[in-house]
């Protein structure tokens, strides 16, 4: 385990903890950006350049901006900073601690930590993957999942637009309402 890995791991986990514990939602979104960027750097550190750059583009570039937009559109910055944790928060924290205890116990006692993982890590350097290889793999062996993902992204885009569509009637309920066209009321 190298020093770079340790630094990136500490940065990522610290970003995640800050994102889940800070009181102002905008600060949470910024801390979440740190966590996502740290994960992208971890991917780069592990030799997965394409996945790291995709993580940087999608998460740091798009999802964080989307979360900031959602916070601003729902006036999340004005919410009461005294009440950020739900009434059942302690139980949730205990459950998360128990999950981490089980996962940590499983990792440290399994053969992954001592057996084949150590041997494989010692003998293999970072695998060489070019973008050309990734593209060929995507287009040959995984072409059906690729098409399914394309269909799902289209459906998600249409669904998000329909869900976030501002209905005319809910804006001014007192106004004399024209019969809403079926396209607007889904």
């Amino acid at each position: 385990m190298t020093l770079a890995f340790l630094i990136l791991a500490v940065l990522t986990v610290a970003g995640g903890v800050a994102a889940m514990t800070l009181r102002r939602l905008v600060h949470c979104a910024l801390a979440l950006t740190v966590a996502f960027a740290g994960l992208a750097a971890l991917y780069l550190n592990l030799g997965a350049e394409f996945a790291g750059l995709a993580q940087l583009l999608v998460y740091v570039g798009a999802i964080t901006i989307l979360i900031v937009f959602a916070i601003l559109l729902t006036h999340g910055g004005e919410s009461d900073p005294e009440k950020v944790f739900s009434p059942a928060g302690i139980a949730g924290g205990v459950i998360a601690l128990a999950v981490f205890a089980v996962l940590g116990w499983a990792v440290t006692t399994s053969s992954v930590a001592h057996g084949w993982g150590a041997g494989a890590a010692a003998q293999t350097s970072a695998p060489q993957t070019s973008v050309r290889e990734i593209g060929l793999t995507l287009m040959q062996r995984y072409v059906l999942p690729l098409e399914v993902i394309a269909l799902m992204l289209t459906a998600a885009m249409i669904g998000a637009v329909i869900l976030a569509w501002r209905e005319k009637r809910s804006v001014d309920p007192g106004a004399p309402s024209a019969p809403p066209s079926p396209e607007l009321r889904v």
Binding site: A35, F36, Y43, L103, A120
Partner: protein
Amino acid sequence: MNPLAGCLLVSALLFSVGLAGALTRRSAILVLAGIELMLNAANLNFIAFWRFGPHPEALTGFIFVIFSIAVAAAEAAVGLALILAIYRHARTSDVSEITEMKG
């Protein structure tokens, strides 16, 4: 501790932090952010097993991460649109106050 176990421990920690956030925060947006953190922890596991596994040239875990990122992007878009729709309906994004469907 070898690098694979280190990656798995970081991933477990990140998953637990995301789970704690999703279970304890009141803001629906941060619940979604916690779910994103959990998804990312799973992605880190895939990358670690691809990197230190016996057959990295098959690119299986790598391709799974690419697909997982695409699914997470779609999930975030639809989830945030749902939060906006709920906010317009209930005028709040506090999950402990949205109890209309409570049985």
